[in-house]
């Protein structure tokens, strides 16, 4: 089964890390991806640029509406994702514990839903 691990952390707090600390953390992430790949669990994943680089799209009354943000209303912002193949939810939780930023923020583990022509899960 596929599980999406969403990585959240406080961007401000992470911005306060020194360049060496930040590079070390990124090195750890590279090693983590390598480990997950060797174990056959890694499907896809990527770190994201900070939220101040983001724009949001909405369609209202058939018209596109583009705004800045998301603004950092919440304490932690989406920072990256790992799409993993795991045997079950507890196996996914075991893998999610290896994601290095879990030490700073939160990793949300969500089962992936399959898009079907009918009878879709809710």
């Amino acid at each position: 089964m596929k599980y999406l691990c969403l990585v959240y952390y406080d961007e401000t707090k992470m911005g306060n890390l020194s360049q060496t600390q930040w590079d070390d953390l990124n090195q750890e992430c590279i090693a983590c991806v390598e480990g997950l790949t060797t174990a056959g669990n890694f499907i896809d994943g990527a770190p994201l640029m900070t939220t101040d680089t983001a724009l949001s799209v909405r369609i209202r009354d058939d018209k596109p509406l583009i705004t800045d943000g998301p603004f950092a209303e919440t304490k932690e912002q989406l920072a990256g994702f790992y799409m993993l193949e795991a045997r079950d939810m507890n196996d996914a939780l075991r893998l999610a514990q290896k994601i290095p930023p879990a030490r700073y923020g939160t990793v949300e583990v969500r089962p992936v839903r399959e898009l079907k022509h009918d009878g879709n899960d809710r």
Partner: protein
């Protein structure tokens, strides 16, 4: 190309089947080799199966898949421990290298003991009974979190948390990975058997929802109890296995083609699984020969008496009543007392049954037990006291959530 793909699929299916069959045993031994470290052993188990997925299609399935998986898992774990910098943060304890390497994993007896160790660990009395079931099903039976959650009709996150907490507790309490010694065995075995019996009953009569039998859980319970009885031939285990087999043998007759419950009296006994009943009866004899009867063996003996009657009219109610009396004398339970009252009514007539029920109906545990009122209603019906029968059926109806049980009572009421 197509042929190659088909071959791959077959071997993948073979590996999936191998997981169901072997993962419990492989994990059990890896746990011992890795100092009882649950997370590390599970990681090694997953790594071993990942390696199987890449190697078996090339080299074929090894002659001894279990030994291959254990050895591969062990190797992967040692390898990770050597480079442990990348995952030391979740490995709290360090494992002496020599211990990992010298432990044996080929000796069949040691491997059997490993399975016992795993079962006793997953069913430790320090864990709540729900946690014992979840952990046993996942770690010993190799079911997924999602499958277990679906069987118990609970949300996946709830079940996943239950498993995580149970493992943390095992770790925190430093529960040793071992088969309990003689002093502890009775208490620890009680805890295991209670979990297995609950598992069987969960499957045999799901407490909520539409389906009365969730076959998979019952079958897993039987499989595990059988395994346990082979590894540890104790009378309670044999008795419990007999009890499960005898109840399960009546499964096909328990519901009609419309999914309606059929009472023991009305069941088509030709649908009963006779070889399974014979095995159950044999096991009861075996258990009784091993010492004073325990609660499981006595209940199995009662089920055996039912199983041996080819027609409801031939049931030996005197023997059943006697067995319930012994059962009540070693372990009083209001539920057994109610069953005893029903057996008594069959032996001595409905008035005697009602009198026996009146003596126990004040018991708190029975206040909300629908079968108490269903039994009373049935006895009033036999005495042609229609009003009293109707009101008792009404009470029973209000106390059950299960659709087939509701319909069963409604049918009885309509027949009045």
């Amino acid at each position: 190309m197509i042929n190659v793909k088909q071959a791959d699929l077959t071997i993948e299916q073979e590996i999936t089947a191998c997981y169901q069959r072997e993962s419990g045993a492989v994990l059990a031994t890896l746990m011992r080799l890795l100092n009882g470290h649950f997370d590390l052993a599970e990681e090694a188990l997953q790594d071993a199966f990942t390696a199987a997925l890449t190697q078996w299609p090339k080299d074929g399935v090894p002659k001894k898949p279990r030994a291959w998986l254990i050895s591969t898992g062990r190797f992967k774990a040692i390898d990770k421990l050597r480079k442990n910098s990348s995952f030391s943060h979740y490995l709290n304890s360090t494992i002496p290298d020599d211990m990992v390497q010298t432990a044996s994993f080929e000796d069949p007896e040691t491997i059997e003991d490993d399975l016992l160790r795993l079962i006793f660990t997953c069913c430790h009395p320090a864990l709540a009974i729900e946690a014992r079931l979840a952990l046993t099903l996942r770690e010993v039976c190799g079911l997924t979190t999602e499958a277990i959650a679906a069987a118990f009709l609970i949300p996946v996150p709830t079940l996943a948390q239950r498993i995580v907490r149970a493992k943390n507790k095992i770790c925190e309490l430093q529960i040793p990975y071992e088969v309990p010694d003689k002093d502890q065995l009775p208490e620890r075995l009680t805890s295991v058997l209670a979990a297995l019996y609950l598992l069987f009953n969960e499957g045999y009569s799901a407490t909520v929802g539409q389906d009365v039998t969730c076959t998979e859980l019952s079958l897993e319970a039987i499989r595990l109890t059988r395994l346990l009885s082979e590894l540890m031939p104790q009378k309670e285990i044999i008795g419990l296995l007999a009890l499960m087999l005898l109840h399960d043998a009546r499964k096909k007759a328990r519901m009609d083609e419309h999914g309606e419950l059929v009472s023991l009296e009305e069941q088509n006994r030709l649908l009963w699984d006779q070889p399974q009943i014979a095995e159950g009866c044999q096991l009861v004899k075996e258990a009784l020969s091993l010492g004073p009867a325990d609660i499981y063996t006595l209940q199995a003996a009662i089920a055996a008496v039912h199983g041996e009657a080819q027609h409801f009219e031939e049931t030996n109610w005197a023997e059943i009543t006697g067995l319930y009396q012994v059962l009540l004398s070693i372990n009083f339970s209001p539920i057994y007392a109610l069953n005893h009252a029903v057996a008594l009514s069959m032996r001595d007539g409905p008035t005697a049954g009602l009198k026996a029920i009146e003596a126990i109906e004040g018991d708190k545990a029975l206040q909300h037990y629908y079968l108490l009122y269903a039994a009373k209603a049935d006895l009033y019906r036999q005495l042609a006291q229609k009003e009293k029968a109707l009101s008792a059926y009404q009470r029973a109806l209000g106390l059950t959530q299960q659709a087939p049980e509701k319909r069963f009572i409604e049918k009885r009421m309509a027949a009045l």
